[in-house]
């Protein structure tokens, strides 16, 4: 009679190379855990919404220019510019507004990056494997950093590429040079958000507290500093990362006066007086985040 038999395979030795850089699975685990939260999907939809609005604005602006560029309608161009604005304005507005929405996404996904590891006792899990403190830090920064890369930096590049692609022939040469300042300012915003959330997560105890503190802190600092600047205390403007970024973006993209379309969007008041000081302030935010991360890892992991 035939009988099914089950044979245990038992322990087998493993051959072959082990080429994976250990920072990569750390980063991917951060996204996997983040993607399982409903709040992540909802905040990503908000990001797509912001991108869509700016895309429509950009396309309609450039299509209008193409149409008016033809023959007798050329005289209307200046007036239309005042209504639909310029490509510079779209890119600057996108970076400034998406900075806030991305703050929400990165807060939801990465607020527990270090805080949850501490609470769950996962440092021992990580550091009993062949990875160093640097691998861990880079893995967490990569995991958090690719979120604003996907919602802020890459879409800025796509908007710029779209603009170059559909701009009237005479305008293309003017748009080519915009790539570096537009993508550069988006990357600066991404670095500020990444270092900020990772630094705060390194200091915090619970992911929910870190998430709330990060988003509320950004909004509060932005609002309070804006109010103080309006009251004449201009130096306080440098304490708001959002205002600093806006200043740098406007300076890099050489945005002039707001058009009618831009005035309909929230968050485009004037920036700080000195772009260089704003750049320095953003550098200080990034450095503070990285220092907090370094301090926490050195405190939790004595060797390695």
């Amino acid at each position: 009679m035939m009988r099914d038999e089950v044979h245990a395979i038992g322990y087998r030795r493993l051959e072959g190379p082990r080429p994976v850089w250990p920072g990569w699975p750390i980063a991917r685990t951060l996204w996997v855990l983040g993607w399982r939260r409903r709040a992540t999907k909802m905040s990503l939809m908000a990001c797509f919404g912001v991108f869509g609005v700016h895309g429509v604005w950009l396309v309609s602006q450039l299509m209008a220019r193409r149409y008016l560029n033809l023959g007798p309608r050329r005289g209307l161009l200046t007036g239309v510019d005042r209504v639909v604005g310029s490509v510079h304005e779209v890119l600057a507005a996108y970076v400034s507004i998406q900075f806030f929405v991305t703050a929400l996404v990165i807060a939801v996904v990465a607020s527990g990056a270090i805080a949850d590891d501490r609470r769950a006792g996962a440092f021992e899990l990580y550091f009993s494997r062949p990875l160093t403190r640097l691998h861990y830090a880079l893995g967490k920064l990569l995991g958090a950093g690719l979120i604003p890369f996907g919602t802020l930096v890459f879409p800025t590049f796509v908007l710029w590429l779209t603009a170059v692609g559909i701009a009237p022939p005479g305008m293309r040469s003017e748009l080519w040079w915009l790539a570096v300042p537009a993508v550069g300012s988006a990357a600066l915003g991404a670095a500020t958000l990444t270092a900020g959330i990772i630094g705060l997560s390194a200091l915090g105890e619970r992911s929910l507290t870190v998430c709330t503190a990060f988003v509320a802190g950004l909004l509060l600092m932005s609002g309070v500093c804006e109010g103080l600047v309006e009251s004449g205390f201009e130096a306080w403007g440098y304490l708001s990362p959002e205002r600093d970024l806006r200043t740098v973006v406007d300076w890099l993209l050489q945005v002039g006066h707001d058009s009618l379309s831009a005035s309909l969007l929230p968050g485009r008041p004037d920036g700080n007086g000195s772009p260089a000081l704003s750049l320095l302030a953003l550098g200080a935010w990034i450095a503070a985040g990285l220092l907090a991360l370094t301090w926490r890892i050195r405190r939790e992991v004595r060797a390695g």
Binding site: Y11, R12, R18, V20, A120, R129, R302
Partner: protein, 307 residues
């Protein structure tokens, strides 16, 4: 090349001397790390892993200096910590695969290997559930699978049977025996349960207050108990006790009806037992000198050095 070589290793945390001039060289397929709570077992494991640098001394694991090349050592070691050591939000399978990837395995290899290791530790459908929903026993199994996934040369298991029900404990100890006897990695089992060590290990390192009390094969620790013998007859034979008494020996009932523990008079040798059995016309099928239990040997080692 010894599995472990420690030379004058000391480690202090504030006022606590966790390791005090520990020196030993150990080899074997399964080593028991024994000692009461606070003996320094976990500190020693962390020093072996390079997670804690010793204040002084030399630590070599598998011939590699753990202070000079901690990541190389960790690549060849597997570690199942006593604490929670888990990532909430991941399933058991994902946790084990992540542990493999952290050791350099490709994603696909890590997943296949994770399935193999979870089969080995006996975690079935539950591998797809989140780790925070696991019972203590399931969690211990996942930790052992995480320690084995990258095929280390040596696995450190810190109190792996604590909190397990008898059946799960039995299965985990069977797994350690399987690793020892199969082609798996060598095992260092840290525990305060002597039975676990007795069942699974061939060498033992006994620690107390950060110092080594004994290091070597279990057989060397368990000295023969002078003058005591285990005798087994073919069938229950109460007459043997009378015959032995007549020859000046003492016989006490053993674990089974046909087994006896015989204490010989000073200076006598085991031929006395054969003579007694022959006089009572009883067949002896087993005769062996008794050794101290590991518990007796352990207590003896601790008391001897303490005094």
């Amino acid at each position: 090349m010894a599995l472990l070589e420690l030379t004058d290793v000391s480690k202090r945390y504030g006022a606590t001397q966790a390791l005090d001039a520990v020196s030993c060289a150990l080899d074997g397929r399964a080593i028991g790390l024994l000692g009461p709570n606070g003996a320094g077992k976990t500190t020693l494991m962390k020093v072996l892993l390079g997670l804690d640098a010793p204040d002084t001394g030399l630590v070599r694991v598998l011939g590699i200096d753990a202070r000079q090349a901690p990541t190389e050592v960790r690549g060849r070691l597997g570690y199942a910590a006593e604490g929670p050591g888990r990532l909430p939000g991941l399933s058991g399978l994902e946790s084990v695969a992540l542990a493999g990837e952290l050791c350099g395995l490709r994603r696909r290899t890590a997943l296949l290997r994770a399935h193999d290791m979870l089969d080995l530790v006996g975690l079935d459908e539950a591998r797809y559930r989140l780790v925070e929903t696991y019972s203590t026993g399931m969690h211990q199994r996942v930790k052992v699978a995480m320690a084995l996934v990258h095929d280390p040369d040596l696995v450190l298991l810190d109190e792996p049977t604590s909190g397990l029900d008898p059946e799960s404990r039995d299965e985990l100890l069977d797994l350690i025996v399987h690793l020892r006897e199969g082609g798996g990695p060598a095992v260092i089992l840290s525990t305060h349960l002597l039975h676990d060590v007795e069942r699974t290990c061939d060498a033992v390192l006994i620690m107390q207050r950060g110092q080594v009390r004994f290091a070597g094969p279990i057989a060397a620790l368990q000295q023969p108990a002078t003058g005591r013998w285990t005798v087994r007859t073919a069938f229950p034979a109460p007459a043997l006790a009378d015959a032995l008494r007549a020859h000046g020996a003492m016989a006490a009932p053993g674990e089974r009806p046909e087994a006896w523990t015989v204490t010989l008079p000073p200076g006598a040798d085991p031929t006395l037992i054969w003579q007694a059995a022959a006089s009572a016309q009883i067949s002896v099928v087993h005769l062996a000198p008794q050794t101290d239990s590991l518990e007796q040997a352990f207590l003896g080692a601790i008391k001897e050095t303490a005094s």
